[in-house]
Amino acid sequence: MSRPLVLASVALLALAGLAPIVWMLMRLESGDVSGIFDARTLTLLGRTSWIGAGAAGIAFVLGLPFGFLVARTDIPGARTLRHAGLVPMLVPPVLLSMTWSVVFTELRGPTAIILVLGISTFPLVAVFSARAFERIDARREEAALLVGGLRSVLAMELPLVLPAAASAACLAFVLAINDFAVPDYMTSIGSKVNVYADEVFASWQSVHSPGKAVAAALPLLVLTLVVLLPALALRRRGSLATWDGDFRRPGALALGSWRWPLFALAFALVAFAAALPIGRLVWEAGGGARGWNFAGFQAAFARAIEVGRADLQRSLLYASSAALISLVPGLVLGHALQRSRASAWLEPLVLAPLAVPAILFGIGYIALWNHPATTTMYSSGFLVVLLFLGRFACFPIFAGAGATATFDPHLEEAARLAHAGPARRLVSIVRPALQSSLFGGAALVFIFGMRELDAAILVPAANGTAMFRVYNAIHFGRDDFVAALALLIVFFILLPGILWSAFGRERWEVAA
């Protein structure tokens, strides 16, 4: 490990992700914390935990097999399904709720909440799992294939993939417990279901007790760390190196008679989770209940582009800048997390910016940056980039850590003996092996940056982002405009991935 690089990355993470939290925590007074646990809030926390666990469970159960199918098997259209499978994560969960509650009118209550949150986060598990499956050397897989066919392959590979999938499920849990919009919407009719995130948001009305609002956020942070522990334990069960200097990329596994049934399942999942909300957006953009027509559809898009073009450009700029920068801590800290003894305390710190409620994070940014000396920075797009980076850097860092776990340390040792310094080893030896995973993690930074709202609304320059414009328009029922702009956002998020798939080349060595 390169100590200067690690320190620099930690400093960047600290500045972008931890300093706002620490700044807010400094507002706590002793009386604030004692007041947060009573029967009412414990009930809310308990319910939130169940919802989070349920959502993470669904994300895991759907995401792991889906990731396997689209990354490693011969199901038809695997590549297309892989891209389409991202869509539920690209559409804000509350828009997903709106779609499904229209199509499935009886879909309400806690079950509906868990389903929506689980489906909106299953792509996370799918992405992490797919990467992990792709990092298992072909020969190890073939050795299992010879033993007992596909069944043995899966039995051998699942323990290797489980840490990555579990980490992703943990992230899904964090996202679920911080969401209050979906529970609110899905119980708009019938018995109301409140969650702890409601408590956090409502606490910000206590303007004369700022510490109380911060204290209200602490239980969610603690809950996140508790859930993270099993995922960390799975990660540390010894070396899982499957990627060495002679890595053979595994080919597509033949599913035989299961090919079409499993394709049908994957297709059904994508149809339900992706095509349905996209279809609904297309329908709304063209006029919806007032009667769909193509001219209306065109007009909605024209207006979305005219009104939202600058916002879309800004969103793309901020999100892609944050994604690119995140590659650095992803590589450096991801590698350090896996190789270093410091990972026990570093991992919770990496996750903390995502685990705290968005409003606390956003207000922390204001408190930290709104000073005469930093006014220019405060008003600029840099701050939005920094916010996205701070909040979502955990994705490439965890992706890097997972990839490092499968990377044979002997390769680094060989370079060390050849007098390559730590930075050079990291960049020249480790980076090439990790880069597809890092890009996957950076893609998540891009995706979440594009759809970020809750923290962003508190930062000046984020006012001019596309998602902000969408939510602004939702209120006044510009359904066609909202739908068209939402579709544009989805398209621009998917575009880099589509281009990469079409024109990008994987540089794996394949032995003849």
Partner: protein, 339 residues
Amino acid sequence: MKATPILRVLSLLLGLAATGCAKEPDLIVYCSLDQEFAEPLIQRFEKETGLAVHAEFDIEAAKTVGLVARIREESKNPRCDVFWNNEVAHTVALASDGLLESYDSPSAKEIPAGFRDPGGHWTGFAARARILIVNTALADPKTITSMWDLVDPKWAGKAVMAKPLTGTTLTHMAALYSVLGEAKAAEYVTRIEQLSMTGAVSLTNGNASVARLVGDGKMAFGWTDTDDFAVAKERGAPVVAVYPDADGCGTLLLPNAIAILKGAPHLAAAKRFEDWVLRPEIEKELAFSRSAQIPVRDSVPRPDGMLSGRQFKVMAIDYGTLGAELEKRAELLKKLFLQ
């Protein structure tokens, strides 16, 4: 893949992001009135005055909490010049905490005293009313006349309102404590909470959802604001607006409130903007817009069908008291409704 192309792209992107560090504007406005309505007005102000205005907006989901939190956080180093709030209570609270500048705009001279802060820290205009939106296919509007109909067992499963923890619904419930007294108001909100647990009264995520649910026929009636009602009507929903409690406490009017921040970096421009916004022409424009904001000045023309304060009983509320008690009521309602 080499790092060099990535570094080049990154430099370009960061350079573009730095364009956020553009030339300093002449005025910064924080506005919680919907961007769709406020933005064209602000652009017109820019054209007429030659001043460059940077406006930042809130979103429905944040229900002003976002902007107000920002203003409070920024108070040590104010960035915003003018706060244009689409509901008055939070502005009053800011005034109570000494965060607003006192300014008596000449454009406001015809605005009734009840809509102006005695100390000149804020001025109300272009109001929304808290009404019951009724789907005429599901309920006879003549039978729905009072807030208490919401908790009437005969409407179980057919009544709806927004969760009263933020926004105008919070302000509304807080106002009831002033006009009905502690006991009666507590009875009302407690009944609503109990009924929400069984689904007899549905609680939505906002007034827009109430209007949509009633307009779509999923609910018979519910509390909403007149602007959301106007949207439902425009959609062709079979709805009417009931201004309830004509024999009781009346209907709450919630004006927009405009105020200059203490320590505003561009005070002169801020005053010019406030003068411009408070003109009767602007109130008229907002009245005729999709948001259908009710002029507080009787002399301002309004669309046919839009009631004036003389045509329904306006709730007698002191906005100053309302704002001062908002935090206390918010805490109380939070403990009641979040279970």
